[in-house]
């Protein structure tokens, strides 16, 4: 009797072991393989990419828990197109080139080259690292070179439109038609300021910012300086230019001398009125403001890059009753200038000054052409914002719309577009 119980127990235990052992075996089984693998050339590249696509493994279900398939591994076999030219890649058998996460059925291989053709195979891999049997592509594919990256076609359109606009407007100006440029009060006022200085028998003061000549704002400032100097020469007034950089002094001297010459008064030019003070920001400001209080110029021009000294200068100028015209592209300093000066050139206006003053066809045409570009950019930004809002609000946006938003965000307005 005793023995039969023992046998039963052993049988039970054996059954348990068997059951357990079975289950252990079934856990380690590989997932079902993906199917239907296709390989095609990646578009818009230099012949380096191939796209591998497949059907997900039946075990890779969206709501599976626990996950059976965690990733897909992609292997590649490269075959040289010309047998004698076998040196570059020595893959004669499949080697792993990459992997993608579950629920993805696409892999972009960017390391192909045009001297080879490729075969791919894809394996589904389970949590335990078990690979399914590989599904292999049957046709060897060779990557192709595309001369045009059509994804950036919009850029071509913009280029043609903006560039065309520039060329068109240059032609328009050359044909003698006058392009209307909005009156820039600040530049119109230069004449008035110099006139005031003349009538009052005082000098004009010009400060070309505190940065060196390599700063674009300083360059723009010097364009305006040429205009101011021309007027000063014509009115027979005097002009003083203290600079903060030695190179700016040299450039200013050349500019002013040329302006006096073209105004027909080269004899009135005095080099000593254009001088270098110090590189030290506040040392410079102290010297200039001190000079302002003593000499009381009747017209002050601040044209260039300014920092903390903007208000110090402008306020001193205001206190001595000068007509002041400022121009800078420093957004943080603009409010100070606007409040303390009579006229202020704001950012773009400052850079447009040279076209505005010279009325030279090329500059005028470019200015107008750039306006068209800015206008298009503005339209795109507004359209993009509206579309993005619509997509965000809609519960089930049409996929076309969504991809348009993505395209605008990534290609036009993103890093590859207007905002590099």
């Amino acid at each position: 009797m005793q023995g039969s119980i023992r046998i039963r127990m052993m049988m039970l235990m054996a059954a348990f072991v068997v059951v357990c052992g079975w289950s252990a075996i079934s856990n380690a089984a590989p997932p079902a393989p993906p199917s239907g693998i296709t390989v095609k050339d990646a578009p818009n590249d230099a012949g380096t990419g191939l796209i591998v696509e497949w059907q997900l493994s039946p075990d890779d279900r969206k709501d599976a828990d626990p996950r059976v398939v965690v990733r897909y591994e992609i292997d590649r076999l490269a075959r040289p197109l010309k047998p004698e030219n076998e040196t570059p890649i020595k893959e004669s058998k499949f080697a792993k080139v990459g992997e993608v996460n579950f629920q993805l059925a696409k892999y972009l291989d960017q390391n192909a080259n045009r001297q080879h053709e490729y075969l791919y195979r894809v394996r589904a891999v389970s949590v335990d690292g078990e690979s399914s049997t590989a599904v292999e592509s049957t046709v060897a594919v060779q990557p192709e070179l595309q001369y045009f990256d059509m994804r950036r076609a919009w850029y071509l359109v913009l280029l043609v439109v903006v560039g065309g606009a520039v060329v068109y407007f240059i032609q328009v100006v050359k044909s003698g038609k006058d392009l209307k440029i909005r009156k820039i009060a600040g530049l119109e006022a230069v004449e008035e300021a110099v006139g005031r200085a003349t009538e009052m028998g005082r000098s004009c003061l010009f400060i070309p910012g505190i940065l060196d000549i390599n700063d674009i704002q300083t360059v723009a400032g010097i364009t305006v300086m040429s205009r101011v100097a021309g007027l000063v020469a014509e009115y027979n007034a005097s002009l003083e230019i203290p600079t903060c950089r030695s190179l700016v002094m040299t450039t200013s001297r050349e500019t002013v001398a040329a302006a006096y010459l073209s105004a027909g008064r080269p004899d009135a030019y005095r080099e000593d009125d254009i001088y270098y003070l110090t590189d030290e920001q506040f040392g410079y400001v102290a010297a200039v403001t001190g000079n302002m209080v003593r000499k009381k110029p009747a017209a002050c021009f601040y044209m260039g890059a300014f920092f903390a000294e903007s208000l110090l200068l402008a306020e001193t100028g205001n206190a001595i009753g000068a007509i002041q015209v400022a121009g800078t592209a420093m957004p943080s300093q603009l409010p100070f200038f606007v409040a303390a000066c009579d006229y202020t050139l704001i950012g773009e206006e400052f850079f447009a000054a040279s076209a505005y003053l010279s009325h030279e066809p090329h500059q005028l045409g470019s200015l107008k052409g750039q306006d068209i570009g800015k206008f298009i950019g503005g339209i795109l930004i507004i359209a993009g914002c509206l579309l993005a809002t619509v997509v965000a609000v809609m519960t089930d946006p049409p996929s076309g719309l969504e991809s348009l938003v993505t395209f605008i965000r990534e290609n036009i307005l993103g890093e590859k577009g207007f905002m590099p």
């Binding site: 006139g195 009538e199 028998g201 202020t344």
Partner: protein, 558 residues
């Protein structure tokens, strides 16, 4: 004045005798003297006179900066009734020797020099004097008298300027025209110009010394007197007014806006001597756009030149009249444009700003002429006052000046304004009364909202109420309409402009105002401002024909 009556007093006595005959009052005694003051029913209270002898007072002015002190000097000279022959300034883009050449060529009656604020530039002013002194300008009338030069500049430069001029000129010093750039002080310079005009220029015309002794207030240059009366009226009634006098050779425009008086003389815009210049300045197409009849351009050109060389002829045919009135529209338009460019706020003034002005920085030196603020537009001069139909005068005024909002139109009946100007100095109340009662003929009121609209779309709706008139209606863009409202009558008008149109209270805002009638009545003008009229004949002819029919301008032509 020509031979044989080479003495002005002869003409004056004749004229006074004629008045005496008309009024039945003895005004001249047996010696040919005017009896003053009145004794019973003999004589008169005052005798006043203006003069435009010798083509008026011609001046040259000089200043440091063209837009600042030189502009002030020009204003002072024009305001005193002078014709400004040239303006010399440091920045007039002429080289010194060219300036000297110019000073030599001109033969002004008088020179006015200004420049520098008090305490301002000395060198520029002295430089001007150094230019003028060696040029030795010759006065127009003979060499018997020394050229009067008025200095009205920086007071600190006075001694040096005095030193610069030798005895060949008669230098007078008056207070600075621009003591500071922010303020103009034209009074002293203007008074000095009047004094010198009497002392020097007039004194050289035969008989004037006698005439001066007859008058009760100084003889003024005629245009100066016109300015005075307009200023008196505008100040007295608190209105803004523009006056125009279009002559054969020149057109004068006077304006008073917010108490600031300005006068300009467009020397080469006129209807006879200068008619050819109007045509070349405006261009034939611009003139012909006002003409609804077909005319041959070659023929017209010859006619224009023939009018120039024979200035006294009058248009006989309707065609000639239409063309002459078209020319006058362009002449007036150009003259008013020049006036607008000249009548500005002072230049060179420091501005006060707030951060709110970032995107709206206005330059100084903007014109102070604002057609919207204009209340009264007065016309005088042959082509305007002698137009066969009053409505033609009104139409020329409206087309050329393009008044905005609600504007009263009037014409000077018999060129009485200059005399009232002098009378205003003696008896300002009497002058005002005569001005209102006898001088002006009210043509009516023009209602024209500012803005542009598509032809045929609504422009404004109106309702007019008076005891004789009760009208409601709507004017569409491009439409013109005339409603009768007799002289002396008043009506209340409510104008509701359409969106985008402004009738004085802002865009789209209704306006209610009392308006006065006249010989023409009320002109409701929906043509928009600026009034756009193409020079293409296929566009202008139908438009002008329609307007002419609406106002019944030339009834014979339709």
């Amino acid at each position: 004045m020509e031979e044989p009556a080479a003495d002005v007093t002869v003409g004056v006595t004749n004229a006074v005798t004629e008045i005496a005959e008309l009024s039945g009052r003895k005004l001249v005694d047996d010696n040919g003297q005017i009896i003053r003051p009145a004794q019973g029913d003999v004589g008169c209270d005052a005798y006043i006179s203006t003069s435009s002898a010798g083509g008026g007072l011609q001046m040259m002015v000089a200043g440091v900066v063209r837009e600042m002190t030189a502009a002030s000097a020009k204003r002072a000279a024009l305001g005193a009734g002078a014709i400004v022959m040239d303006v010399i300034a440091s920045n007039d883009r002429r080289l010194p020797h060219e300036q000297i050449q110019r000073i030599r060529e001109l033969r002004p009656d008088m020179i006015l020099i200004s420049g520098g604020t008090d305490g301002g530039t000395t060198s520029h002013v002295v430089q001007l004097a150094e230019l003028i002194a060696p040029a030795k300008p010759q006065p127009r009338f003979g060499s018997e008298y020394r050229m009067p030069v008025i200095y009205a500049g920086n007071k600190e430069a006075v001694p040096i300027v005095e030193e610069t001029f030798d005895k060949s000129v008669e230098l007078s010093v008056v207070p600075n025209l621009r003591p500071v750039l922010e303020r103009e002080n034209l009074g002293p310079a203007r008074d000095k110009i009047h004094d010198l005009f009497l002392e020097h220029v007039m004194a050289h015309a035969p008989g004037y010394d006698k005439l001066i002794s007859w008058t009760d207030s100084p003889i003024m240059p005629t245009p100066g007197a016109v300015g005075d009366i307009l200023r008196t009226i505008a100040e007295g009634q608190g209105i803004n007014a523009v006056g125009v006098d279009i002559g054969g050779a020149t057109t004068d425009v006077f304006s008073v806006f917010d108490g600031v008086f300005n006068r300009t003389v467009s020397a080469n815009l006129g209807m006879s001597y200068s008619i050819s210049n109007v045509c070349s300045e405006a261009g034939m197409p611009s003139i012909l756009r006002w003409v609804h009849l077909e005319m041959d351009e070659r023929e017209l050109r010859n006619r224009v030149k023939n009018k120039m060389i024979r200035p006294t002829t009058i248009p006989q045919t309707l065609e000639a009249l239409v063309f002459e009135q078209a020319v006058s529209r362009e002449a007036l338009r150009l003259a008013y444009q020049q006036h607008k460019e000249f009548a500005t706020t002072l230049k060179g003034v420091q501005q006060q700003r707030t951060v709110g002005d970032t995107f709206s920085q206005n330059t100084s030196g903007q014109t102070i002429v604002d057609n919207m603020k204009l209340d009264l537009l007065v016309a005088s001069g042959g082509v305007l006052s002698h137009a066969p139909r009053m409505v033609q005068t009104a139409a020329m005024l409206v087309d050329a000046f393009q008044p905005e909002g609600i504007t009263t139109l009037a014409k000077d009946s018999i060129f009485m304004m200059p005399h009232l100007g002098v009378l205003a100095q003696v008896h300002s109340k009497a002058a005002l009364e005569v001005f209102e009662r006898d001088c002006l003929i009210y043509l009516g009121t023009c209602v024209a909202p500012k803005g542009q609209g598509q032809r045929g779309k609504p422009c404004f709706s109106y309702s007019i109420r008076s005891h004789a008139l009760n009208e409601l209606g709507e004017i569409s863009c491009g439409e013109l309409k005339q409603l009768p409202l007799a002289d002396g009558e008043k009506a209340e008008i409510t104008v509701e402009p359409a969106r985008g149109f402004d009738c004085g209270a802002g865009k789209g805002k209704p306006v209610r105002k009392e308006i006065r009638g006249g010989t023409v009545g009320i002109i409701l003008d929906g043509r928009g401002r600026e009034l756009e009229l193409s020079t293409k004949r296929e566009q202008s002819v139908p438009a002008v024909t329609q307007w002419n029919q609406a106002l019944d301008l030339y009834p014979e032509s339709s």
